[in-house]
């Protein structure tokens, strides 16, 4: 069975696209081959900056012959019908076969599709693959119309058997497939012929090309580590950079150089970022001082001077870069030490979003909310406000302008340089966290406060202007913000009614959009103090004296607020799914009052999830549903609600009396447990009803002929519903 070797040789492929392209080449080719009937034993894709290579072992030499049977018209059918069938099947009359069927004699056609040689199929599939390759961005070049990531220069495509290698005949827009490739661009540029994958790989290595990305990465990592170790230093791990650098070279040569003394006092993060982003250098740390003192660069070639010229050049470029960084750092420190007013001023003119105002507006809103949230997180309101006002000033620093990824971190340095204490400075960095599902959640009260205020302001802002995430589109990372809120609240065990803060912040956005009418501002303060749609609503309306203003301000705020809370609940479901909590369990808890207190909600859901997982719990749900169904049907039929107290004196059987007693007991345990938010106890008490409920249904016919007894029993079912519903909405439990 032949082996197939394909190499698509082009100008330099962006590093970030290489591995995906290798996978796509493999998938598209093997899918196409298999679909055409060519199975294979093994396939692997390899990439370098200039080539995508696919090696397929043990490919069938021919696709199998396929015999297909097709049923035609009845024997004796009109001549046109038979001829039409022959045309359709592409056969002649002598290839027809007469067969008896239960419906009489019928013509059958036996169509044989002969197998095709592998070369023919490979050529077709490869052409299709090249012409429809899913590059993230592709281009045309010269006068042609072919698209590839960068100009495609040659195609190597051979099938190798024991008899030798054979070129697969193929021509794509003037590029004819052959059996040759070229080595390293500078060290061995001549073209050479290959006969198999092993031959190809070995010859490439002699021509200074390491074909396998993993091998290049490993080589880089080992050499770099050894070099650092030999100097008594430590290489700073950076997997992303390693992957990128391995995609920039065909023949990696690792070189280590010194960072000029003048730059060693820059914050290590600045050194690391500048070197990584601009130069793609690894950082080398001195474990004794903790400082980054050297760098590792990876060249794409060996030179007669052992890389001395290359290293000197890189060192010089680095000095120029770090001079810039040092210049930014020193300028920034000057502004910071002067109190950072210049930055705060400038942020007034930086647009956050054209419908949400400037960064200055945004910071004011966050600071106002932070004041309100502070007591809940155990922080001081004045300090929270101050920390919030300082948390984003670094956005206007020169360093962050140059390296946006240092935002927050630089803020921490600068806020501290401005003379604020470490807790306030830490907020500048920590308030962006958590950024994902797994990174650390802030725990310092000030950081928690501002982080929450920041995220809630973002969520409410984009809700207010109707820029919610849709499908896979979430340009403002609102799902991440909602998850951040959830993780902050849960990890810090915060007890807060989210609703009122969402309302208050939505109103702040409205106030902003109204261009700041004083009456509205006072109103928001009032609402923020009391919660908007609670009891204080009437008071506020009276106070306002102008109900239209409230209408103008609030408008659809209640709807938006509900919608945003539902969005947060959705994210919570995703978050709790990993914990093994069923979505219907969460739904059953969300249906309860106080669902905007996420901690309460999660406590309830965890307890319910645990109970439902037991046999007791599962049966209780069945019993509850049965009671609820009978009751609902009766209520619909009778047009009344059976919520009147049932009386034990009308109970006829023992099991009925026992249920009365059990419900009384359950109520006595559940009510205080709920008050104490001890959901496991409440749930256990509820689950204990399973026995009496089952016994009741086994023995008792609810719809008795005696109307007094029937009503009493329905009222008894209503008690079951009432008690169970005080714990969770069990109607939402599936199954």
């Amino acid at each position: 069975m032949p082996d197939l070797l394909i190499e698509l040789f082009s100008e330099e492929i962006p590093a970030r696209m290489q591995s995906r392209a290798g996978e796509d080449l493999k998938k598209r080719m093997t899918d196409g081959l298999v679909e055409a009937g060519l199975t294979y034993a093994h396939a692997s894709a390899l990439t370098t900056p200039r080539r995508l290579t696919l090696a397929v072992e043990g490919l069938l030499a021919n696709s199998p012959t396929i015999r297909e049977e097709r049923k035609g018209p009845k024997v004796g059918a009109p001549e046109q019908a038979v001829e039409g069938f022959l045309r359709g099947a592409g056969i002649t009359r002598d290839q027809l076969e007469e067969r008896d069927t239960p419906k009489g004699a019928v013509w059958f056609a036996m169509i044989e599709k002969p197998g095709r040689p592998a070369a023919e199929i490979v050529a077709e599939v490869l052409e299709d693959t090249i012409r429809n390759f899913p590059w993230p961005k592709s281009m045309r070049w010269g006068a042609g119309s072919l698209r590839w990531v960068r100009p495609l220069h040659s195609i190597l495509c051979i099938l190798t058997t024991e008899a030798g290698a054979e070129v697969v005949p193929l021509d794509i827009d003037g590029i004819a497939a052959g059996n040759t490739t070229a080595g390293h661009r500078f060290m061995a540029p001549a073209r050479f012929a290959v006969t198999s994958f092993e031959d190809y790989q070995a010859k490439l290595k002699r021509a200074f090309v390491m074909l396998d990305t993993a091998e290049r990465a490993e080589h880089i990592w080992n050499d770099a580590q050894n070099m650092a170790f030999a100097a008594g230093l430590e290489l700073v791990e950076d997997k992303g950079l390693l992957a990128e650098v391995a995609g920039l070279v065909e023949w990696p040569v690792v070189l280590m150089g010194r960072i000029g003394d003048a730059f060693l006092d820059l914050p290590p993060e600045v050194l690391q970022t500048s070197m990584r982003e601009h130069q793609k250098f690894f950082s080398v740390k001195n474990p004794k001082t903790g400082r980054i003192e050297r760098f590792v660069t990876v060249a794409n070639r060996e030179t007669a001077d052992q890389g001395a010229t290359i290293l000197a050049g890189n060192q010089k470029v680095l000095s120029a870069r770090l001079s810039d960084a040092k210049f930014f750092w020193e300028n920034d420190l000057r502004v910071a030490r002067a109190g950072m007013d210049a930055w705060a001023q400038a942020l007034e003119n930086v647009t956050f979003h054209n419908k949400l105002g400037s960064q200055g507006d945004r910071i004011r809103r966050i600071a106002a909310l932070a004041r309100e949230l502070a007591p809940l997180a155990g922080a001081d309101a004045d300090r929270a406000e101050q920390a919030a006002k300082l948390a984003k000033v670094d956005l206007n620093s020169e360093m962050v302008f140059e390296f946006p990824e240092l935002q927050g971190l630089m803020g921490r340095y600068y806020v501290e340089a401005a003379g604020h204490d470490a807790a306030i400075a830490a907020v500048a960095q920590a308030h962006y966290s958590p950024l994902g599902p797994s990174d650390d959640v802030p725990t310092a009260p000030l950081s928690v406060t501002v982080a929450l205020a920041d995220k809630l302001d973002t969520l409410t802002g984009f809700w207010a202007i109707d820029e919610k995430p849709t499908g896979s589109k979430d340009p403002f990372a609102l799902r991440r913000a909602a998850l951040g809120v959830i993780r902050l609240v849960l990890a810090n065990d915060l007890r807060m009614p989210l609703d009122r803060y969402i309302d208050a912040q939505l109103l702040r956005h409205r106030y902003h959009a109204s261009n700041g009418e004083a009456a509205l501002r006072d109103l928001i303060e009032e609402i923020a103090d009391h919660g908007v749609f609670g009891a204080a609503f009437e008071t506020i309306r009276e106070k306002l004296g102008d109900p239209d203003a409230l209408e103008k301000l609030a408008g659809d705020v209640p709807d938006l607020s509900d919608d945003l809370l539902a969005f947060i609940h959705d994210r919570l479901k995703v978050f709790l799914r990993d914990e093994g909590i069923r979505h219907d369990v969460i739904d059953a808890c969300i249906a309860m009052a106080g669902n905007d207190d996420l901690n309460l909600l999660v406590k309830r859901a965890r307890a319910l999830n645990a109970v439902i997982a037991t046999e007791e719990g599962e049966n209780l749900v069945q019993g509850f549903k049965r009671a609820n169904n009978i009751l609902t049907q009766a209520e619909e039929k009778d047009g009344v609600e059976y919520s009147f107290g049932a009386d034990v004196k009308f109970a006829e059987s023992d099991s009925e009396k026992a249920l009365f007693a059990a419900l009384e007991q359950a109520r006595a345990r559940i009510e205080p447990a709920l008050k104490a938010e001890d959901f496991p106890v409440a749930m256990a008490a509820m689950a204990a009803l399973r026995g009496p409920i089952d016994a009741f249904f086994d023995e008792v016919q609810v719809n008795s002929d005696n109307q007094v007894v029937r009503r009493n029993r329905l009222n008894l079912l209503s008690q079951i519903r009432g008690i169970c519903s005080s714990v969770a909405d069990l109607t939402r439990i599936e199954g």
């Binding site: 100008e11 330099e12 962006p14 590093a15 970030r16 900056p49 961005k137 281009m139 045309r140 070049w141 010269g142 006068a143 042609g144 119309s145 990531v149 960068r150 100009p151 220069h153 500078f186 920039l248 070279v249 130069q279 793609k280 250098f281 660069t297 060249a299 794409n300 070639r301 030179t303 007669a304 001077d305 010229t309 290359i310 000197a312 050049g313 890189n314 010089k316 470029v317 680095l318 120029a320 001079s323 003119n349 930086v350 647009t351 054209n354």
Partner: protein, 311 residues
């Protein structure tokens, strides 16, 4: 002509002369700089407009370029508000353009057997010209020495055939080749000349003068007015009939209109340096210049050079 390759150039101007000689020997028409203020060599109509249409083209030239916001009063080692770009545009892009480019590095004294030359992904986009292309920045020992782009679109038109564009930042490249740390110390002519001149001798004073004018003095009211006027003139030129009533010839005035687009673009850069354009306005101004560039591109493809053939 003596072969200067493999000998080190001694001055800024020698590097320019070697590039001119090299690209002339590879068949490029050596053009002169465009006589207007532009932000980059790409603005020269020999690139922007000639990248459009099907007519083959091969040109190389030096283009003085102005970026008012980059002015540093001549103090920064490599930031200047006025600097030079070397620009090569070949249409259709030849298959050996990378090798041709590497040859040009050899020509200016970079021994590629000792240096680490890399093609690092960098897609080029000019929002003001409505243009984009794919390519690389070329690194020599970690330093960006050129921009290498296959033009895909200009002024909203697909480029077919595709042009290959090379842009060399001359000061930075020359400083690297000559081993100079501060641009103002770079020898402009041969240091052995009877009157040796440095880059600073030629440009330090003008960098100061322009930095002051760009940042603090330029009359913004006047500039805003000139922007509007250039915009209006561009539209007015393009609104003219293609048939010249005086000569009876078909004359589409793409180039005069494009001059107004260049003017508007530079005035925008000046206003930006004066700090009178807010972030939101910025986008709007860029959009207005792009609209002009697009109309000029539309007009150019209606000219003979742009591939128009009378029916």
């Amino acid at each position: 002509m003596t072969d200067t390759t493999r000998t080190a150039p001694r001055s800024f101007q020698e590097i320019i002369l070697r590039l001119q000689t090299y690209w002339a020997s590879r068949g490029c028409a050596i053009l002169q700089p465009y006589d207007m203020e532009v932000g980059a060599g790409t603005f020269h109509p020999a690139t922007t407009l000639r990248a459009l249409g099907s007519a083959p083209w091969a040109a190389a030239y030096v283009q003085p370029s102005r970026r008012p916001t980059d002015g540093r009063y001549g103090e920064n080692p490599n930031r200047l508000q006025h600097y030079y770009q070397y620009q090569v545009l070949i249409k259709p892009s030849p298959p050996d353009l990378q090798d041709l480019y590497l040859g040009s590095l050899e020509a200016i004294g970079i021994d590629v057997s000792l240096h680490d030359i890399r093609f690092v992904e960098d897609d080029w986009e000019s929002p003001t010209l409505g243009a984009w292309g794919l390519g690389w920045e070329v690194w020599c020992d970690g330093m960006e020495v050129s921009q290498f782009t296959y033009f895909q679109q200009v002024g909203g038109h697909d480029c077919a055939p595709v042009s290959g564009e090379l842009t060399y930042g001359l000061e930075r490249l020359a400083m690297y080749v000559l081993g100079i740390d501060h641009v103002m110390d770079m020898p402009f002519n041969d240091p052995q000349s009877p009157i040796p001149l440095t880059y600073g001798d030629v440009f330090r004073q003008t960098e100061e003068e322009y930095a002051r004018w760009n940042f603090d003095v330029a009359n913004t009211e006047m500039l805003l007015r000139h922007f509007e006027e250039a915009e209006a003139e561009c539209a007015a030129i393009l609104a003219q009939s293609h048939d010249d009533p005086k000569t009876g010839k078909r004359i589409v005035m793409a180039h005069p209109a494009y001059d107004q687009c260049i003017k508007a673009s530079h005035i925008f850069n000046l206003l930006d340096a004066r700090g009178v354009i807010s972030v939101t306005e910025r986008q709007a101004y860029i959009g207005r210049v792009r609209a002009l560039a697009k109309q000029c591109a539309d007009a150019f493809v209606q000219t003979t050079a742009g591939g128009y053939a009378a029916a």
